[in-house]
């Protein structure tokens, strides 16, 4: 088998494996169904009355934030499942086979992309049930979905990188909290950034989650997008350009350490 077709075969095999995991692991299944639904309902009904976002209803404002937050949390699933494979020796077993090693990462991140797409659909449906009334044309929505999926792919490579850096499930849990939580909460996902104090606000307004949230929000609520779409694309590509070669290098080194 040539390099490319081997890579394709192995990616397909491990893509299917990760996908199967998503439907069989109670944790992952809950992560892609129950928890996003809970988030939508909680924010909608708990904070919905208290937070005034001006021109639109809170649930309309909120949904873009929930989409992106869920995607970012999805990186934790990528990280945990990979760390588990490393810890349990499954990666060793793969590495003793004549396979394309990088498929361990590409198969997983691609499956996680599909998993996130599924979750977004679930959230849209739940949102519609509780008063989400977005605007936007088909083109706007296509662009919004594309932005989210590219970001999803990028952030799951960050998850993979975290797992390679800290291949112990327990320690990883701590690390991911420190990385993912600030990214999602110190952002425009749930509240407007202009009420935040100086340094926090500067971080919130310039970090990738806010850019993606703002772009998706503007596209789906018929608001001016400004430079948020460009910023989202640039961020996602930048993350991919850094994390893919880095993860690949760590992976290669692992095999020949």
């Amino acid at each position: 088998m040539s390099g490319i077709s081997a890579m394709y075969n192995d990616t397909a095999v491990l893509f299917r494996r990760s996908l199967t995991h998503s439907f069989r692991s109670p944790e992952i299944l809950a992560g892609i169904t129950i928890s996003p639904v809970m988030f939508v309902l909680m924010f909608r009904y708990v904070f919905g009355g208290a937070i005034d976002v001006g021109e639109t209803t809170y649930v309309n404002y909120l949904m873009a934030g929930i989409f992106v937050q869920t995607i970012a949390f999805g990186a934790l699933t990528t990280a945990m499942t990979l760390a588990n494979d490393l810890e349990k020796g499954i990666v060793d077993r793969f590495f003793s086979l004549p396979m394309a090693r990088s498929a361990v990462l590409t198969g997983r991140t691609l499956a996680d992309l599909l998993r996130n797409a599924f979750t977004i659909v679930v959230m849209i449906l739940v949102g519609l049930l509780v008063g989400y009334r977005p605007g936007g044309s088909v083109a706007d929505w296509s662009a919004a979905l594309a932005l989210m999926l590219v970001f999803s792919f990028a952030i799951s490579w960050v998850g993979a990188l975290m797992a390679l850096a800290v291949p112990k499930v327990e320690a990883l849990q701590q690390l991911s909290f420190v990385v993912i939580l600030p990214l999602t909460f110190v952002s425009s996902a749930f509240v407007k950034t202009d009420t935040m104090p100086g340094a926090l606000r500067a971080f919130a307004e310039n970090q990738p989650v806010t850019q993606v949230v703002d772009a998706v929000r503007a596209l789906t609520l018929d608001q001016p997008v400004g430079n948020t779409v460009t910023a989202s694309v640039v961020w996602s590509i930048a993350i991919l350009v850094v994390s893919i070669p880095l993860a690949a290098a760590v992976f290669r080194r692992m095999g020949t350490r």
């Binding site: 491990l14 494996r17 199967t20 069989r24 060793d92 086979l97 004549p98 095999g255 020949t256």
Partner: protein, 338 residues
């Protein structure tokens, strides 16, 4: 070129031996895990790496299976250099690691097919081979159950089946029977013997002398990353004294007398303890000898209190070879690391 004859000779050796390693070394920080291991495993034979915890068994296996790059030394496996053509090595080996590595969320069958597909098999071929292996490993009835629901022994069998899916030339088994009950252990031995009969070369690691004895053509004893002895099971036993029969007389005062009587009957008395009335006999002819010996003593009116057969253990090997108990060697190593 002056090196030509040497190169030619090396190639001939490569073609013969399934595993040929020279001077392998590997350090982890301060710990010297492997300190210059040489080994040759001829095709179709079984070699056992015997050693206590921390001896460097797993590290050696990981180097030979291309999971770890050695700091020094070189090796060829199935005719291919582990450093220069690791892909070719991987295409010809199977590895069952020390800790079971199966996918708990997939069924037994799905596990095997996945590994087969990654080992470059066609879908149909992988599926057929999976059916064959599941039957052979007595997992056919549980083939479509998630591996996470399997018992320890079933997991170990599935793990071994996975390493066999692509018919490897050389099989690495890192402590294949640790954690198995005695019956499963014997089952695993039978499986290994069968594979060898079919021409597979096996390198296995173990902490049990009886396992190495039962399975291996050659035993390599390692400790602190070094080979401290090697040979067939028989040569090693000659060195450490083989099986012994420990006798205890009801009347300790007659110990010397009984011992002399046995010696006269051509029995090899290895030691006697007058105080406790114990006599230690080296067994050279197996169970028959035990019967004869007891009859001899009985005829002459010596009453026995206790008879035990003592088979040499890894600990005896270490005691003889290093003057240290295997556990002590391990402890010393652990302390050294702390």
């Amino acid at each position: 070129m002056s090196t030509a004859p040497f190169t030619a000779q090396t190639v001939v050796e490569d073609a013969e031996a399934a595993i040929l390693a020279t001077g392998l070394t590997k350090n982890f920080g301060e710990t010297c895990a492997v300190a210059g291991v040489d080994l040759t495993v001829e095709r179709g034979t079984v070699t056992a790496l015997l050693g206590p915890n921390g001896a460097g068994k797993t590290t050696t296996v990981r180097i030979l299976t291309t999971l770890l790059k050695p700091d020094g030394g070189s090796a060829t496996v199935a005719g291919h250099d582990i450093a220069r053509s690791p892909g070719a090595v991987r295409a010809r080996i199977g590895l069952t690691g020390q800790f079971t590595a199966i996918d708990e969320l997939l069924t037994g069958r799905e596990n095997l097919i996945m590994i087969g597909r990654l080992a470059r098999m066609q879908k149909a071929a992988a599926a057929d081979r999976a059916v064959e292996l599941l039957a052979r490993f007595e997992l056919a009835d549980d083939a479509d159950r998630r591996a996470g629901t399997y018992s320890g022994g079933m997991r170990r069998r599935l793990d071994l089946a996975a390493s066999l899916i692509a018919n490897p030339e050389v099989l690495f088994l890192d402590e294949p029977t640790t954690g198995l009950d005695p019956r499963s252990r014997l089952g695993m031995w039978e499986l290994i013997e069968e594979l060898v009969a079919q021409g597979t070369t096996v390198l296995l690691t173990t902490q049990y002398l009886d396992e190495a004895d039962a399975l291996a053509d050659e035993i390599i004893v390692i400790d602190h990353g070094r080979v401290i002895a090697r040979g067939t099971s028989d040569t090693l036993k000659d060195e450490i004294g083989g099986e012994r029969l420990e006798l205890r007389l009801v009347d300790p005062a007659r110990t010397a007398h009984a011992s002399a009587r046995l010696t006269a009957a051509g029995v090899e008395v290895a030691g006697a303890g007058e105080a406790e009335g114990t006599i230690s006999v080296a067994l050279t002819r197996g169970p028959v000898e035990i019967a004869e010996l007891i009859q001899t003593l009985d005829r002459d009116g010596f009453t026995l209190d206790e008879v035990t057969v003592h088979r040499p253990t890894l600990d005896d090997v270490f005691l003889t070879l290093t003057g240290q108990h295997a556990e002590d060697a391990g402890d010393a190593l652990r302390e050294g690391r702390e």
